[in-house]
C-alpha cells in the first residue's frame, strides 16, 4: 500500500552553500537581469548620464556653434565658458553639439555592429554545419584585415562617390562605416557562447517539444545572452566614439557635422597646441576619455551579472569579516594558512 507521506512532494532543503549564495544573489538584485547597484555601477551611470544629458539638452541652450562673429582664440570667460576657437566659434557650443554628434555616431555604429555580430555569431554558433563555415569565414576575414586602414579606405571611397551630396560627409555615413567594420570581435564571442548554449538541456528540451529553430534562437538563447549583448553593445559604442575621433583626426571624419573628433581635428589644424589654446582641445578629449571610462565601469558591473562569482566572493569575504569582528567566530581563519 502506498505510504501517504511519500506520494506528496516533500519540502526539500537546498545545499547549504547554495542557499547562502541564493540569498545573497536574491538580495543583491531585482527580479530581472539588472546588475546590482555598486560603487562601480553608480559612478559609471552618473558619468554617462551627465554626458548624455549634456549632449541632449545643452545644444538647445548654447549659441550657434558656427557663429564666427566672436573674437578668435579667447580664453574661458563668463560670456564664453570655454573660450573660442581660431575661427571664432564658441567652444562650449561646439562641445555641446560635438557631444551629441559623437553619441549619435557611437550609438548608431554600436547598434549596427551588434546586429551584424548577432547574425554572424549567434546563427553560426547555433546552426553549425555549412552555414557556420561560411559565416565564420567572413568573420575571420574581417578580423584579419586591420581595422583602421579598412575604415579609412572605405570612408575615403564612400565619401568620394558621386551623387551622395551632403550625405557623403555626414555622421550617419561614418557611423555606418564604423558599424560594418567593427562587428567581428563580438561575433566571435557570441558564436562561442551560442555554441555552448546550444548544448544545454533546455535547448534540447525545446527541440523535443517541437520548437522551430529560429524561435529557439529568439526565445531560448537570446534572452540568456542579454547581459553579454549589453556588454558588446557598450564595447561597440566605445570603439565607435574612439574610432570616429581617430577618423576625424585623419581628416576622414564627418566634416559636415560637429563631433568631438572633428573638434580635435580642427584644434590640430588650427595649431591650438602651438597657440596655447588648451581650452579648445582639452574639453573634447576629456569628454571622450570620461565617456569611455564611464561606459567601461558599466561594463564591469554587467560582467558581474554574467559571472556572479565576481561579486559574491568579495561580498562573502566582507560579511564574514564583519561577523568575526562582531565576535561571532571562534577560530582564527586559517583557511589559507
Amino acid at each position: 500500500m502506498a505510504d501517504p507521506r511519500l506520494s506528496s512532494p516533500q519540502a526539500e532543503p537546498l545545499p547549504t552553500s547554495a542557499v547562502a549564495t541564493e540569498r545573497m544573489v536574491r538580495a543583491a538584485r531585482v527580479r530581472t537581469l539588472l546588475p546590482s547597484m555598486s560603487g562601480k555601477l553608480l559612478t559609471g551611470l552618473i558619468i554617462v548620464g551627465i554626458i548624455t544629458a549634456f549632449g541632449l539638452i545643452a545644444p538647445s541652450f548654447v549659441q550657434d556653434p558656427r557663429d564666427s562673429s566672436n573674437p578668435a582664440l579667447l580664453p574661458p570667460s563668463p560670456e564664453h565658458l570655454l573660450g573660442t576657437t581660431k575661427l571664432g566659434y564658441d567652444v562650449f557650443a561646439q562641445l555641446a553639439w560635438g557631444t551629441q554628434g559623437s553619441l549619435f555616431v557611437g550609438l548608431v555604429a554600436g547598434t549596427v555592429s551588434l546586429l551584424l555580430a548577432i547574425v554572424f555569431g549567434v546563427l553560426a554558433g547555433y546552426f553549425g554545419g555549412v552555414l557556420d563555415e561560411v559565416l565564420t569565414l567572413v568573420t575571420n576575414i574581417m578580423l584579419v584585415i586591420p581595422g583602421l586602414p579598412l575604415v579609412m579606405v572605405i570612408a575615403a571611397y564612400v565619401q568620394h562617390t558621386e551623387g551622395l551630396g551632403p550625405l557623403a560627409r555626414s555622421s550617419l555615413l561614418v557611423a555606418l562605416v564604423l558599424g560594418i567594420t567593427g562587428w567581428a570581435g563580438s561575433a566571435v564571442v557570441l558564436r562561442a557562447t551560442s555554441r555552448s548554449l546550444r548544448t544545454r538541456d533546455y535547448v534540447a528540451a525545446s527541440r523535443v517539444a517541437g520548437e522551430k529553430p529560429l524561435r529557439i534562437i529568439f526565445v531560448e538563447i537570446l534572452p540568456n545572452l542579454v547581459p553579454l549583448l549589453a556588454a558588446q553593445l557598450i564595447f561597440g559604442v566605445i570603439f565607435a566614439v574612439l574610432g570616429e575621433a581617430g577618423l576625424s583626426y585623419l581628416g576622414l571624419g564627418p566634416t559636415g557635422s560637429i563631433t568631438l573628433g572633428t573638434m580635435l581635428n580642427d584644434a590640430q589644424t588650427g595649431q591650438a597646441v602651438g597657440s596655447g589654446a588648451w581650452w579648445w582641445f582639452v574639453p573634447p578629449g576629456a569628454v571622450i576619455a570620461l565617456l569611455g571610462a564611464g561606459l567601461s565601469l558599466i561594463n564591469f558591473a554587467i560582467d558581474e551579472v554574467v559571472n556572479p562569482k565576481l561579486r559574491i566572493a568579495p561580498q562573502a569575504a566582507r560579511s564574514q569579516r564583519k561577523a568575526r569582528k562582531a565576535g561571532r567566530g571562534i577560530a582564527d581563519d586559517g583557511a589559507f594558512a
Binding site: 502506498a2 506520494s7 512532494p9 519540502a11 526539500e12 533546455y202 534540447a204 528540451a205 517541437g210 526565445v219
Partner: protein
C-alpha cells in the same frame, strides 16, 4: 487490470539501431560504436528499463528515440510507421513521444517562468487553441504533477524551485503535447534521495492513468527492478541481457549483469566486505 487493446505493430520500436562516431586523433581516426545493433519495443502501459553504466550507449539510444540524434543505420518505428526526421510528420511524432531529461537544473531555461515552460508545447501542438484555454490546461498539468496550488508555481522561475519540483515541471512539459510515450533519461539520479521515490511514484501513477509507455534509463538496478516490467542491460553499445525485471535481477544470466548486481550496495551484506578484506580479499 488495465484494459489494453494490443494491436499488432503498436508501440515505439527501436529496430537494429546503430550509431557510430568518428574520433579523430591527429591523422588517424577510429570509430566509436556508441550503439551497436539495439532493438526493443515499448508498448503502451508498460515500462522498459535500459540499464547500464556511463559509456554503455543508453543516453544515445534515448536521444535517437527523441529524434535529437540520427542513426548510422537502423530505425525507429512508431505504431509500425518509420519515425520521421523533419517536417510536419516530425511534429506529429513529437506530440506522441516526449523526453524527461536527467538534470533538473539544466533542462529548464532560467530566463522563463514555469508557466511558459508548460504553455509552449501546448501552443505548438494546439495552434488553434485560445490563450485562455492554453493557460487553463497548463495549470491543470501543474496540478497533475502535484505542484499545487499551481498559481504558487506558475510565475516562478526555475532557480526558485527545488530539484524535485523542477523535475515535476519537466514531466508536466513532457505530458503537455499529449504524449503517449515518455523517455525518461535518469530522471531521478540528480535528485535528493528522499525525493526520488516521490517523483518515480508520480511517473508510475501517471503511467497507470494515461496508459503511457515509458523507457526508464538508469544505472540504478534497484529502482529499475521495481519500476519496470522489462529490463535491458547495456554494455558498450550492445544489449547483453534482457528479460522480465524480476528474473534479470534475481536470476542473471550474463557475466556483466552479475558483476553489476554484485557491485550494487546491498545492506543485507553488511560486514561482508570487511571480512573479505580482513582475510586478504
Amino acid at each position: 487490470m488495465t484494459d489494453r487493446t494490443e494491436m499488432a505493430g503498436s508501440g515505439l520500436e527501436a529496430r537494429n539501431l546503430v550509431r557510430d562516431y568518428r574520433i579523430r586523433r591527429g591523422f588517424r581516426s577510429t570509430t566509436l560504436h556508441a550503439v551497436a545493433d539495439v532493438s526493443f519495443t515499448i508498448e503502451p502501459g508498460r515500462t522498459v528499463a535500459l540499464v547500464g553504466e556511463s559509456g554503455s550507449g543508453k543516453s544515445t539510444v534515448a536521444r535517437i528515440l527523441a529524434r535529437l540524434e540520427s542513426t548510422t543505420s537502423g530505425g525507429v518505428l512508431l505504431d509500425g510507421h518509420p519515425a520521421p526526421t523533419r517536417g510536419a510528420q516530425l511534429d506529429r511524432y513529437r506530440s506522441r513521444v516526449q523526453m524527461v531529461f536527467q538534470d533538473p537544473f539544466a533542462s529548464l531555461n532560467p530566463f522563463h517562468t514555469i508557466l511558459h515552460h508548460v504553455e509552449r508545447p501546448l501552443r505548438i501542438h494546439n495552434p488553434r487553441m485560445r490563450g485562455a484555454e492554453i493557460r487553463d490546461r497548463a495549470h491543470e498539468l501543474l496540478e497533475r504533477v502535484q505542484l499545487t496550488p499551481s498559481t504558487r508555481f506558475a510565475e516562478r522561475r526555475p532557480h526558485e524551485l527545488s530539484g524535485g519540483q523542477r523535475q515535476r515541471v519537466a514531466i508536466a512539459r513532457a505530458l503537455a503535447p499529449g504524449a503517449t510515450y515518455i523517455i525518461a533519461d535518469e530522471p531521478v539520479s540528480m535528485l535528493d534521495v528522499s525525493i526520488r521515490l516521490g517523483v518515480l511514484n508520480l511517473l508510475a501513477e501517471l503511467q497507470r492513468s494515461e496508459g503511457l509507455g515509458v523507457l526508464y534509463i538508469t544505472h540504478d538496478l534497484a529502482t529499475a527492478r521495481h519500476f519496470s516490467d522489462e529490463i535491458l542491460v547495456m554494455y558498450r553499445g550492445e544489449i547483453v541481457e534482457r528479460g522480465d525485471a524480476d528474473t534479470v535481477i534475481l536470476d542473471p544470466q550474463h557475466a556483466y549483469t552479475r558483476t553489476l548486481l554484485d557491485a550494487a550496495a546491498d545492506p543485507d551484506r553488511l560486514g561482508q566486505l570487511r571480512e573479505e578484506v580482513r582475510k586478504g580479499g
